[in-house]
Symmetry: C2
Subunit: 345 residues, 2 copies
DNA sequence: CTGTTAGCGCCTTCAC
DNA sequence: GTGAAGGCGCTAACAG
């Protein structure tokens, strides 16, 4: 029996009140209030009939939805799924529904989803993926389009937060990628390492570029700069790490003492490449990552990394987008966590 | 400049046609068609004005939304995030927006979200988390409530798919957990193992219970049954695996030859526990998991597991819910993948 | 405090 | 093939 959803007017009729009163009794109203006994009666019949409001209709009437759009590059990547968990949790607290877009790293889909969320009149949009490096031919154009769309959305009353790097003057939970990578470089230097390699990730992604640059700059200051040959690009994935590390190992001159993979997922792939080459971590090459992905914490040897509290960042971005975070939060500084993959040397 | 979203009637006016014609030109209409030049004109001005339809309004007018609800236990868990990636991808192909609910293992939230998606008139709902073991006092009641709600949703025209185990006679992408675990037991037996332990996961979850039971039943057939003492429950997480393995190691009688953790995440925690106890994997204890989580494939030693194509399952469930999958799909049988964590013995 | 009345943006019969 | 008009379920002025 396709039970047609019961509507507010049915509830009103059944309870013997007007539509407006029923609406006020159920949803409350900023201005008007409703007599206690009437409210009781309405609520009771609503419950009895199994009424619940139609979000689309409310959205229409109110001019805004109860949805929060979350845009990530790839929800299967633990970096993003951890952020998503934080967002989902915070959104639920606010009574918002999260609509998820996993763009598979396609900038056009990123923009398309922002446009969708905008015309959908979402309450807020959270953009979690990395910005692009301006140098990229259309990177700048894409980010500009994204910025304009989000700015228009915000000007129309929508909440916005980006994660990672700032986009225009939109609210941002900034992650100090360069600083964290620099701190890691110094920690590894303190541990006795001198010759470094870097698995730099995709050159077009700001997150990857910033981590790489922060690491290399610190190395320069420490007096053991990595040459361009020691820096290998690759995808932001396990396979990207594997391939980049393999390339590094194939170079003449032997492997560096320590390799920094710009995220944990790549680091794990890199460790596999080392083993497949018949070498050992950290015996022949030490390896460090970035992010401190929870499920990757226990690889053997345990992975040195820079901890970023991704779930908190997701929650914080949600509050920020909703205007519940007070001032713009300070950049999130990662914490270097030395583990077995980079022992004292 | 808060540019109010442009509406269809603006487009119509600008193009010099009626609202109805504009609507037909843009959305197409089953019955009426519109003259070529007019359609062109409408489409052109729509593009120029940056028009795009308001999903809420369409939902109201059409009586159904363009949303697909996805319910998972914990989006940060790679099992679910991989499924989510498959769902997101397939949904995007169908032009649907996915709304995500991460229930954090709270059954009441699971039900609440299904109710929400239902009154929201979502196009479809995909329920990805494990069902509960009937034995549990309110497990049966909860699953019954869930089943009733989803059945009512389907009877009202909504699409439904569950993942893992069947719920009533609702469409399901079944996963042969017991069969996969049994096959794993036989493979380990073939490899020479005889004394087994099991990290059984949460007793209330069907997925965990089925994997445990399938493994144990196969052991019985093989003539090397595991005693109840060899089976330790625990959370479905890294820490759950760690603690359960620690408990197993503390037992009198020394560790089993091989331990089956009912999912990869637990297996990784278990391996950490072994190492922290000063023992080695697989030297002192062999370890196997289940799922073949991509990012966990490279832990060292590489993890023996049962491969489940989670992303395909997500995509398949999406098509199934939308009625695009033809017949009910056959149960997904896992594939045993032997790796270094369980060498020949 | 309660009821009446417009819409919100779009689709869809129904006339033309 | 096109346009006018009603209505989806609800909220928010407006009266009373």
């Amino acid at each position: 029996m396709p039970d047609a959803p019961v509507t507010l007017s049915q509830v009103a009729r059944e309870a013997g009140v007007s539509l407006a009163t029923a609406s006020r009794a159920i949803n409350g109203s900023a201005t008007r209030s409703v007599r206690e006994d009437l409210r009781e009666r309405v609520l009771e019949t609503a419950r009895r009939l199994g009424y619940s409001p139609d979000p689309s209709a409310q959205a229409m009437a109110r001019g805004r939805t109860t949805a929060l759009g979350l845009v990530v590059h790839d929800i299967a990547d633990p970096y993003f799924s951890t952020i998503a968990a934080g967002v989902a949790d915070a959104a639920e607290r606010e009574g918002l529904i999260v609509t998820l877009a996993s763009t598979q790293h396609r900038p056009d889909r990123e923009l398309a989803f922002v446009e969708l969320a905008r015309r959908q009149r979402s309450r807020a949009i959270i953009l979690a993926g990395s910005r692009l490096v301006p140098a990229g031919e259309d990177g700048a154009a894409h980010d500009a389009a994204l910025r304009d769309s989000l700015t228009a959305f915000r000007d129309a009353g929508g909440g916005v937060a980006t994660i990672g790097q700032a986009l225009g003057d939109l609210p941002v939970v900034e992650i100090d990628n360069a600083g964290g990578a620099g701190a890691l470089a110094r920690a590894l230097h303190d541990a006795g390492y001198r010759r470094f390699g870097v698995l730099a990730g995709p050159a077009r992604l700001r997150t990857a570029a910033d981590r790489t640059a922060g690491f290399r700059e610190a190395l320069v200051e420490l007096g053991c700069a990595a040459s361009d040959d020691d820096v290998v690009p690759g995808e932001f994935t396990r396979d990207g790490g594997y391939n980049a590390m393999s390339a590094l190992l194939d170079r003449a001159g032997g492997p560096p003492e320590a390799v920094f993979a710009v995220n944990d997922v790549m680091a794990v792939g890199a460790m596999a490449a080392v083993r497949d080459a018949g070498l050992s971590v950290p015996g022949d090459v030490a390896v460090a990552g970035f992010d401190d992905i929870h499920t990757l914490r226990d690889v053997a040897p345990r992975l040195t990394t820079v901890r970023i509290p991704l779930d908190e960042i997701g929650a914080l971005a949600t509050r920020l987008a909703l205007g519940r975070a007070g001032d713009e939060p300070a950049p999130v500084r990662g914490e270097v966590v030395l583990r077995d993959s980079t022992p004292l040397r």
